[in-house]
């Protein structure tokens, strides 16, 4: 008799692996990446390339020489981190800043915790926040590079829409947001230029059941409700729901960063509370803090609460109350 495999059940496996899931995330990010290339041209292509190359090389080097473990580059999670990092940087970031960001994301935020699955903080956001605090001038330089297509982005090339709030006042800033912003936003991180592209990618992930929609929906709902309450109370000082949803990386963060498997709660209810926390913190930072955006900080802060949420919320067990 030939030798045959013996193993415990189950004997078949779903056509899914860490790599296939990460590949799905990359596919979902493609529309937004393409739009950012169109608008920001070679500058953005360069940032993306530097980010991917440095993230992947770093992870490979760390697993090979420091951890002396089998390489985890093949699972593509480093590529996802790299794309998200690049999407979170201004489109004119110098290449060496990208490399530093990648080093913080991969070496500090991910590998020093033990690699994929072990990190507490979202690597891409950690990298971005590190850069924001270390190089504030570079990270808020919203100069528009030459794009492949040239929309009429003339008026506000110096600051993001959220930055305009301090200059123009809330009421004026609100008027800058319209249906047009759904397709292409102006000024801001490279990846958040097109809300439609981001939402299309998110929808792809939800339909493919790669992620569950609850975290994202919870963030959107919280941001919208809080903004609506404050805006109704005082439209002169506080910007409205649509403005807050479409600016400052809320969509990018809610769709792709807050939903990162490793750094988000596992249960549905935990996810909803996680999203609520993010929405609340981001709105508090925007309305009362000194940073105009706040999405990165909100996600990092809530990342810390994930172990607690995982302990507190479990799904309903069969036959038990």
């Amino acid at each position: 008799m030939d030798k045959h495999i013996v193993s415990p059940n189950p004997h078949i496996h779903a056509p899914v692996s860490t790599r296939s899931l990460m590949l799905d995330v990359i596919i979902a990010l493609c529309p937004a990446v393409v739009v950012s290339f169109l608008f920001y041209g070679w500058s953005e292509v360069m940032i993306m390339a530097v980010s991917i190359v440095s993230c992947v090389l770093l992870e490979w080097a760390i697993t090979k020489w420091m951890l002396k473990a089998p390489s985890t580059v093949g699972d593509l999670s480093a590529v996802v981190t790299a794309i998200l990092l690049a999407m979170n940087l201004p489109p004119v970031t110098p290449w060496w800043v990208v490399v530093i960001g990648a080093a913080v994301a991969i070496a500090v935020a991910k590998m020093s915790f033990g690699g994929i699955g072990q990190n507490i903080f979202n690597p891409a956001i950690t990298g971005r926040v590190f850069l924001l605090l270390s190089f504030p001038a570079i990270m808020t330089d919203w100069t528009l590079p030459q794009g492949f297509i040239n929309p009429h982005l003339d008026a506000f090339s110096g600051a993001t829409l959220l930055g305009q709030v301090n200059i123009l006042g809330a009421a004026q800033a609100d008027k800058l947001v319209g249906l047009q912003t759904l397709w292409h936003n102006i000024g801001g991180s490279a990846g958040e230029i097109s809300a439609i592209a981001l939402l299309a990618g998110w929808l792809y992930l939800v339909v493919r059941k790669v992620i569950r929609p609850w975290i994202t929906l919870s963030i959107f709902a919280t941001v919208a409700v809080i903004a609506a309450i404050f805006h109704l109370a005082d439209p002169e000082s506080f910007t409205g729901p649509l403005f807050n949803l479409l600016t400052g990386g809320v969509i990018l963060g809610a769709c792709f960063m807050a939903t990162d498997y490793v750094t988000s709660p596992m249960s549905n209810l935990g996810g909803v509370i996680f999203g609520f926390g993010i929405g609340l913190i981001v709105m508090m930072i925007r309305y009362f803090g000194s940073y105009p955006e706040g999405m990165s900080f909100a996600i990092l802060i809530m990342n810390m609460a994930v172990p607690l949420l995982n302990m507190a919320f479990h799904q309903r067990k069969f036959g038990r109350k």
Binding site: M1, K3, H4, I5, V6, S7, P8
Partner: protein, 293 residues
């Protein structure tokens, strides 16, 4: 400016004093009175927390030993007599001498001796494998080779030999804590007396199948032929369920059984000279003749 600095220093100093006071009061209030001998005993323990003594760790052992009326049931296999003497000194007890022991693998089903008929694709765990089926070879009693014993050993005294597929005990490192004995689902590891200068004889097989079946499953199996039992002049060997067992307390290390075993299931280790089969067989034959006369 100066006053600001002074104020800061003063407030910080005051705060430090106040908090220290609070800490002191809390420490006093919740002080746990413990027998100081527990600490003393713990200090002389090996500190491996291996659980070989049957307690949760060295501290638990010390705690229990201090409270016990005598040292019955308290024996640290890792530290052995040396440590137990120290413990007894601290507590004022007498201690029994115990012969040093070592873990011994009672399977010699090497890859070469046991043809494999299946291969395993589950989690690397003998426990899981044993619960699933009888193993990758025709011998349902032999080593499964997933290394649960290696995992269990806290002293690094076990490693898998890739050539034989069996675990190897490093006698220098083995402390006879018994963790591997508990870990093996096939009960292949046994704590045996180390013997004089490490010399000992044992049957490296647990196959209770009848001779031909066992032989077919593994070339090195004990086939229960009983020759060793007849050979032994010290009544150290017993045969039960087609498997021989050597009582290490009775064995005189004459190596006659080892010489007579047709399958090489009986192992002698740490002897200064290699086994001289011919000489031993001659000796046995001679003795037989004499007894006939």
């Amino acid at each position: 400016m100066t006053s600001t600095i002074l104020w800061t220093i003063a407030i910080l100093a005051g705060l430090g004093f106040l908090l220290a006071l609070v800490l002191y009061l809390i420490a006093e209030r919740f002080k746990v009175v413990e027998d100081p001998r527990i600490d003393e005993v713990e200090k002389v323990m090996p500190g491996a927390n291996c659980g070989g003594c049957g307690f949760a760790g060295c501290r638990a052992f010390a705690d229990s030993a201090v409270k016990a009326p005598n040292l019955d049931g308290h024996y640290c296999p890792v530290g052995g007599s040396e440590v137990m003497k120290k413990v007894a000194d601290i507590l004022g007890f007498a201690v029994e001498e115990k012969a040093p022991q070592v873990a011994v693998l009672r399977c010699n089903g090497t890859c070469a001796a046991r043809p494999t008929v299946n291969y395993y694709d589950g989690v690397k765990s003998c426990k899981v494998k044993a619960a699933l089926y009888s193993g990758d070879t025709a011998c349902p009693f032999g080593c499964l080779g997933c290394g649960d014993c290696v995992e269990a050993c806290q002293f690094g005294a076990l490693h898998m030999d890739p050539e034989t597929g069996l675990p190897v005990v490093d006698e220098e490192k083995c402390t006879a804590c018994g963790a591997c004995v508990k870990a093996c689902p096939k009960a292949l590891l046994e704590l045996r007396n180390k013997g004089p200068r490490g010399m000992r004889e044992f049957v490296a097989c647990r196959n209770t199948d009848k001779g031909p079946v066992a032989k077919k499953a593994c070339a090195n199996a004990c086939i229960g032929c009983g020759i060793c039992v007849k050979t032994c002049t010290h009544e150290a060997i017993t045969m039960e369920n087609n498997i021989a067992y050597i009582d290490f307390a009775k064995c005189k290390l004459c190596r006659e059984c080892e010489a007579m075993c047709p399958t090489g299931a009986i192992h002698g280790v740490n002897f200064p000279k290699p086994l001289d089969k011919a000489a031993l067989k001659e000796r046995i034959a001679k003795r037989k003749e004499e007894s006939h006369e």
